[in-house]
Amino acid sequence: MKVLSYDPELCTGCYICEEVCSETWFKVADAEKSSIRIRGDGQGILSAVFCDQCGECIAVCPTEALYRDKKGIVRLRKKLCVGCLSCVGFCPQGAMFYHPDQTQPFKCISCGKCADECPAEALTIIDKN
């Protein structure tokens, strides 16, 4: 299964990944619509939040809208989603996101666009079993 991987040592905090992600999926450069969030702790240590495809959200979804696709990636079937945001509250990483002008949540699906564009090569897609 392909998942995103992040190396905090290489990350320069440029936030290009957030721009690329929101542009790709929402056609707008807006960190609040990115499925990857880079966070600084105020003392120069950076970390990233994004879905690691753990699948815990699948059980909490009341409509079976969340499922694991053939490649093992956790996806959302928009046709079934009722926008309850239970998954947002239950995600252990806080990696299921919500934006007020969308009724449905969104998350990283390992598309790799951010990894392609990361100038510091801090993001890569790796194979996780």
């Binding site: 979804c61 079976e64 989603c81 009722v82 926008g83 309850c84 945001l85 239970s86 509250g89 239950f90």
Partner: protein, 714 residues
């Protein structure tokens, strides 16, 4: 939606469902089964402003629909169903509740009953803020509300089942064409037990996608199922467009989402170490009540039993299927609507069938279990299932059966009178058999099905029983059976049950811990304040479409440090945010009380209008206040002797138990009368429990016909 039907259509109404705007469609649906009228009524600004929705709309419509002398089984009686402006949002746990109101066959005044399931929200998304049904059909019918099809029909229903679990199968197999069709359909149904008892309940369905089966929540109290079948309704069916996060077109979705995701996370992080609702639902309460001597045992004689562990939360956690999203409306992560799957019925007309049992919940565990001294899980599953499918309220059945068992053991009843049933406490098989008899309306079952109030009269008239003893031990007030908490040592909760509008249902107030355990309500004024605040606060949930369990069965970890932790202030603020977020009306926590006061006072006046509702109407049986029998006194002798000494300056050592009981009784009955005085004053009512005109004026409900009712008593 539905497959081609061969049912004869008696009336048809074409419409375009109104869009929901900020929680309201602006229309209520009126159906009259006597003349097959189907029409839309507008929701006025006055209705929204004064009555909000849910119970408020129910009462307003019912008030105008019936006459002063309307009886429960007159065609003029109505069944009104409404959720409320927040009903049907998906982001905040517990936002799918509906309120149902009618004139009750048990109390002969207004009953309001709350219920989960999908019908209420889907009704709104099919275009209607409330459904108002009046009249009586000549033959059995169904009413079908098809939102996407823009069509409402009244149809003959000879081939539609009566018992609820069969109605569920019929819905998904006969009415839905595809799996997807099932998602946004729901029924309201009763059962054969509703035809033969006064304690009929309604079942509201929800489609459980993981189980691929219909499940049911109940509008249990007050016999509305009996009214339903009296009107010859077999089922109400609604079908709506798919539910979405913005189906209510809220004013401020971000505000709702912030509150919702915060509560989801709180439940995820803390439910396991708090009440474990996601794993065991309300069954957690059984052992707790037993620990505090509050669990009804032996018809409320005692508060604890050594066998309670056989039916406590651990047992049910192991029986309920775990790990499923058991919310009764989308987005409820408190998920307390658990079920036992694959249970094989041992008795009755469906013996041998493998079924899903929706429960048992606390009230069923306590009422049909400990209160009857039944500690066998199979019996609770059997009773729970059959009560649901027959459309019989498990609380009235449990409390009613406990009364019958005490009468049996006291020699008032015997096997000849019960048609062979040995109704001793603990005889699970006999209790189950009694339920089947009640559903068929046969023999002794027909008598028990009338409820405790009428059993009191019957046993006195036909079996020579002492009416005073029956009155003392028969746990009903206003004609409705008590729900399952022992109130003997909590004056506040005696009032919490006795000073209600609908009858002794804990819906209004649950003050036992605050009063009896934590001693936070020491004076009459404290109790009166609590008996004003909490009923008003709790009423509000039923105006908006909210379930109150996410308010208090889960807590923010820092709740202890707040000023008034019993009110769970952060959650109250959540509700303010959600209500304002949906409706666009900025409200404060104080506004919540005012909104409820209008509805509450209207309901009181309504009871008076129907010929009751005065001071005497709030009387309670002595079993709810103190020890009726010697063994009850002796089970708490130390506590009672101490009270006689400290409060009444008596010397218990030199007194007989009978004398002590008499002294205690006089004192407690006096206390209750004083409580009435304090509470009526706080509520703005006269000594005779009549809302004063100035109170009605202050609340803005001094309509001429409302004032006319109270003026007769001032």
């Amino acid at each position: 939606m539905s497959k081609q039907t061969t049912r004869r259509v008696l009336a048809e109404y074409a419409y375009k469902p109104s869009d929901v705007e900020r929680g309201y469609t602006g229309q209520t649906l009126y159906v009259n089964l006597s003349d097959n009228t189907i029409e839309a009524k507008p929701v006025t600004d006055e209705m929204k402003k004064k009555f909000v929705g849910g119970r408020g709309f129910d009462l307003w419509l019912l008030w105008h629909g019936v006459k002063d002398n309307t009886k429960w089984n007159d065609p003029e009686n109505e069944i009104v169903i409404s959720s409320g402006p927040c009903g049907g949002i998906t982001q905040y746990p517990g936002a799918g509740k509906s309120l149902v109101a009618s004139i009750s066959p048990l109390t002969e005044v207004v009953i309001d009953s709350n219920v989960g399931g999908h019908f209420g929200p889907l009704l709104k998304f099919a275009g209607w803020d409330a459904l108002e049904i009046q009249g009586k059909a000549e033959k059995d019918i169904i009413v079908v509300i098809d939102g996407p099809g823009g069509r409402i029909t009244i149809e003959e229903a000879d081939n539609v089942p009566v018992d609820t679990h069969l109605v569920g199968h019929w819905l998904i197999n006969e009415m839905a064409e595809t799996e997807e069709d099932r998602y946004y359909m729901s029924t309201v149904s009763a059962g054969t037990g509703s035809e033969h008892t006064r304690m009929g309940c309604l079942n509201f369905s929800l489609y459980d996608r993981k189980r691929k089966a219909p499940r049911f929540k109940q509008a249990g109290r007050g016999g509305i199922g009996t009214v339903f079948r009296d009107k010859r309704i077999k089922a109400l069916v609604v079908n709506s467009a798919p539910v979405r996060g913005d189906s209510n077109h809220p004013a401020d979705p971000a505000r709702i989402a912030r509150a919702g995701t915060k509560l989801h996370k709180e439940i995820h992080d803390h439910d396991d170490e708090q009440c474990r609702m996601r794993r065991r639902g309300t069954s957690y309460l059984a052992q707790i009540m037993d620990d505090y001597d509050l669990l009804p045992v032996h018809n409320y004689k005692f508060g604890t039993h050594p066998d309670t562990p056989k039916i406590n939360g651990d047992v049910w956690e192991a029986r309920y299927t775990q790990g499923l999203p058991d919310g009764c409306w989308y987005g409820c992560t408190l998920a307390c609507a658990h079920a036992v799957d694959g249970y094989t019925l041992r008795t009755g007309p469906y013996k041998g069938e493998q079924v899903i049992v929706d429960g048992p919940e606390y009230e069923t565990i306590a009422g049909c279990g400990s209160n009857c001294c039944i500690f066998e899980p199979w019996a609770l599953l059997e009773i729970n299932f059959y009560c649901d499918t027959y459309g019989i309220d498990t609380i009235s059945f449990g409390t009613g059966t406990a009364f019958v068992m005490e009468c049996y053991e006291a020699g008032i009843l015997d096997q000849e009178k019960t048609g062979g049933l040995e109704l001793n406490f603990g005889n699970a098989s006999a209790a189950v058999e009694l339920l089947h008899l009640m559903a068929r309306g046969e023999g002794f079952g027909k008598i028990v099905g009338q409820g405790i109030r009428r059993m009191k009269t019957y046993f006195a008239e036909h079996f020579g029983a002492d009416p005073a003893f029956l009155q003392d031990i028969g746990m009903e007030a206003k004609g409705l059976e008590y729900s399952e908490y022992v109130t003997k040592e909590s004056l506040a909760q005696q009032g919490g049950y006795g000073l209600t509008n609908k009858g002794p249902q804990h819906d209004e107030a649950w003050l036992i811990f605050m009063d009896q355990v934590s001693n936070l309500l020491p004076t009459f004024e404290d109790k009166a304040e609590a008996l004003h605040y909490f009923p008003m606060f709790r009423t509000w949930f039923g105006l908006c479409g909210f379930c109150k369990l996410p308010w208090n069965d889960t807590q923010p970890p820092d709740n202890a440090e707040t000023d008034e932790p019993a009110k769970i202030p952060e959650h109250v603020q959540n509700y303010v945010d959600v209500f304002s977020g949906v409706t666009g009306q900025e409200i404060t926590k104080e506004d919540i009380i005012a909104m409820s006061e209008r509805v509450y006072n209207l309901q009181r006046v309504f009871n008076i209008r129907l010929g009751h509702g005065l001071r005497d109407h709030d009387n309670v049986p002595y079993r709810s206040q103190g020890p009726v029998t010697i063994e009850e006194y002796e089970s708490r002798a130390e506590r009672y002797d101490k009270q006689l000494q400290e409060i009444l300056n008596l010397a218990p050592a030199g007194m007989t138990t009978e004398a002590k009981m008499a002294a205690l009784r006089e004192y407690r009955e006096e206390q209750y009368e004083k409580l009435k005085d304090a509470v009526y004053e706080r509520r703005g009512w006269t000594e005779n429990a009549v809302p004063k005109v100035e109170t009605l004026k202050k609340l803005g409900i001094d309509y001429p016909d409302v004032v006319a009712v109270v003026e007769k008593h001032l």
